[in-house]
């Protein structure tokens, strides 16, 4: 990294705010922009599901089961005669909701525990770190699987199980960040004017540690969605008949010999979502943390 390409160095001469600077950096990143476009198209299509499709995703019509794509059913119907594209759109709603809520859960718990761990140190730090160790000492899919087996099938339980997986990475990240920020002059200044510890952590230190948290959240989102879909694929995630990408893939597997095209749709949907989220995550990392560029 000694050969610095001067055209890539951004000098803040225009008095841009950090957010404007971030936007201009992010926009120059073509893959990231492509990721945002793919993601927005998917998101809007899923949100508009009731407008775009005249069908009910759970409405069975055995007489018209396993139909090939036609003008009425653009992607055909599944083994219970349900319209596949409708289920795909509603499934996307659910997959994205599960992903966002799970990461949100992991983020809130992880950030708070990480901040406490890093700022206070001592036995509480030790305790929180062992907790993170335990969560990290399972292969992550196994942990989600075991938790769902324990809690039972259901959307809430899937969110909880997948959310727990995200906790340790946020704990580690925020702890490290807080440890380095704690020694900064502005923290000392805040202590001098008599600010309370909680205030210092949440008002001063955490906002300054947010960049890696945002990057981690965007990368974890894709992982949460695939893990949840993996549970659905095994039939251990959401209740039967709920439209969900993983479960659709699992059901389509039974027709791999006769109606193999059915596999492709949920597979492509998952793939596009994860590609988009990965591109966005990498773009965020480059724009928020230029030091890591080219890694």
């Amino acid at each position: 990294m000694t050969n610095i390409d001067l055209s890539q160095v951004t000098v803040n001469t225009k008095g841009e705010t950090p957010f404007q600077l971030f936007l201009s950096l992010f926009r120059k990143n073509i893959p990231a922009t492509v990721g945002v476009i793919i993601f927005l198209v998917l998101l809007i299509a899923c949100l508009l599901a009731p407008v775009l499709s005249p069908f009910d995703p759970q409405q069975q019509d055995i007489a018209h089961a396993l139909q090939e794509p036609s003008s009425e059913h653009l992607l055909g119907t599944d083994y219970l005669g349900r319209d596949i594209i409708t289920r795909l759109l509603y499934g996307g709603r659910l997959s994205l909701t599960i992903g966002f809520l799970a990461v949100g859960l992991g983020l809130s718990i992880g950030v708070v525990l990480g901040a406490i761990s890093g700022y206070f140190g001592g036995w509480i730090d030790m305790l929180i770190q062992r907790f993170a160790d335990i969560l990290l000492s399972f292969p992550s899919f196994l942990l989600a699987l075991t938790m769902v087996a324990m809690l039972g099938i259901g959307v809430k339980n899937v969110i909880l199980s997948v959310g727990v997986l995200a906790i340790p990475s946020f704990i580690r990240l925020v702890r490290g960040s807080v440890l380095s920020q704690r020694e900064m002059l502005y923290v000392e200044a805040a202590q001098c004017i008599g600010a309370k510890e909680g205030y210092i952590v949440f008002r001063h230190i955490l906002p300054n540690s947010m960049a890696p948290v945002i990057i981690n959240a965007s990368l974890n989102l894709g992982y949460a969605i695939t893990t949840a879909a993996g549970l659905g694929f095994l039939g251990l995630g959401v209740p039967p008949s709920t439209p969900e990408w993983g479960m659709m893939l699992g059901e389509a597997k039974n027709y791999i010999f006769s109606h193999s095209y059915m596999l492709v749709y949920p597979g492509v949907a998952i793939f596009l979502t994860i590609v988009a989220l990965n591109l966005i995550g990498d773009g965020l990392r480059d724009a928020l943390d230029p030091r890591l560029k080219n890694r």
């Binding site: 000492s137 699987l145 993996g230 193999s260 994860i274």
Partner: protein, 307 residues
């Protein structure tokens, strides 16, 4: 160094005990009476009471845990509700299949991923680099079950080149599951190797080596790779542990008779002792692999100091 290893082993032990508590607790919070489940529907009250006593279910929960630990330390993980065979025997019978799959997969992942990463770094910002990064994007973005079904669809169902299920007698059966399981790790190893090699390429000692007039091949193999591959070794080791998680889905898709497949089928049939034993074995293996990787790392990279 020695102190570090001892500390690392102690932490692993503590983690394992915490996990055993969690798994033990898992069985107690599940709905239904384990004694009732064991005895079957036709048992009378007397039989159930006898089983309850035999399993120590009439004792306080802390005492039950100690009995459980005592049994586990003797290698007794209980009997499967379905087959009535000892859990450990069933796991032992299926473990070689999982190990075979995991070892072949990590060889594929490292054997293709490391050279691809080195190539991408040496030819950085060319079409070679771009092609490799697009391929790794596929590997990272396709979850293992989608990769597995896609490969099965193309090579087994459409082309009839390879069998789609089972372990079989020939190595043909191993190809699809192994590639499926390897794909994610391969992509990750490629990315890590590329990043690591690129970082080392910008080091002063590489410039010195070039300035001395060494041929590029010598610079890459003798100076760059030796240093760049240190972090890669860790990633490969950690990925071997992660493959255990991926094996659960891969084995289920390809009906590969390993411990991942039996875990899922035990979950379907609510065979709790089996699930408990398998989760414990999976966690113990994962901890063991990560412990070995950490200790190896300390040996490989003498620059790192541990207190």
């Amino acid at each position: 160094m020695f102190k570090y290893i001892i500390r690392r082993i102690l932490i692993s032990l503590v983690t394992l005990i915490a996990i055993s508590m969690m798994i033990f607790w898992l069985l107690r919070v599940l709905p239904g009476d384990p004694a009732l489940a064991l005895a079957g529907e036709l048992a009378d009250a007397e039989e159930i009471a006898a089983i309850r006593k035999r399993l120590n279910l009439d004792k306080p929960i802390a005492v039950q845990y100690l009995y459980f630990i005592q049994d586990v330390s003797h290698g007794d993980l209980g009997d499967s509700l379905k087959s009535r065979e000892p859990v450990l025997d069933e796991i032992g019978a299926r473990f070689p299949a999982t190990l075979q799959l995991a070892i072949i997969s990590i060889i594929i992942a490292a054997g293709l991923g490391i050279p691809a990463g080195v190539l991408a770094a040496i030819k950085r910002y060319t079409w070679v680099d771009s092609t490799i990064s697009i391929l790794t994007l596929f590997g990272v973005a396709l979850p293992v079950y989608a990769t597995g079904l896609l490969l099965m669809l193309v090579f087994a169902v459409k082309l009839h080149w390879l069998p789609s299920a089972g372990r079989g007698d020939s190595w043909h059966n191993t190809i699809l599951p192994a590639i499926t399981l390897a794909s994610f790790s391969m992509a990750l190893i490629t990315r890590m190797t590329r990043a690591s090699v690129m970082e080392v390429l910008s080091e002063d000692y590489v410039r010195t080596a070039r300035a001395k007039g060494h041929r590029e091949r010598i610079v890459i193999f003798r100076h760059v790779l030796r240093n760049a591959l240190i972090p890669v070794v860790t990633v490969v080791g950690l990925q071997f542990g992660a493959l255990l998680g991926g094996a659960i889905l891969t084995e289920t898709i390809f009906a590969w008779p390993g411990i991942g497949q039996i875990l899922i089928s035990s979950m379907y049939s609510r065979d709790y002792p089996m699930v408990q034993g398998l989760v414990l074995i999976f966690a113990a293996l994962f901890i063991l692999v990560n412990l070995i990787v950490d200790i190896l790392y300390a040996y490989i990279d003498p620059r790192i100091k541990y207190d």
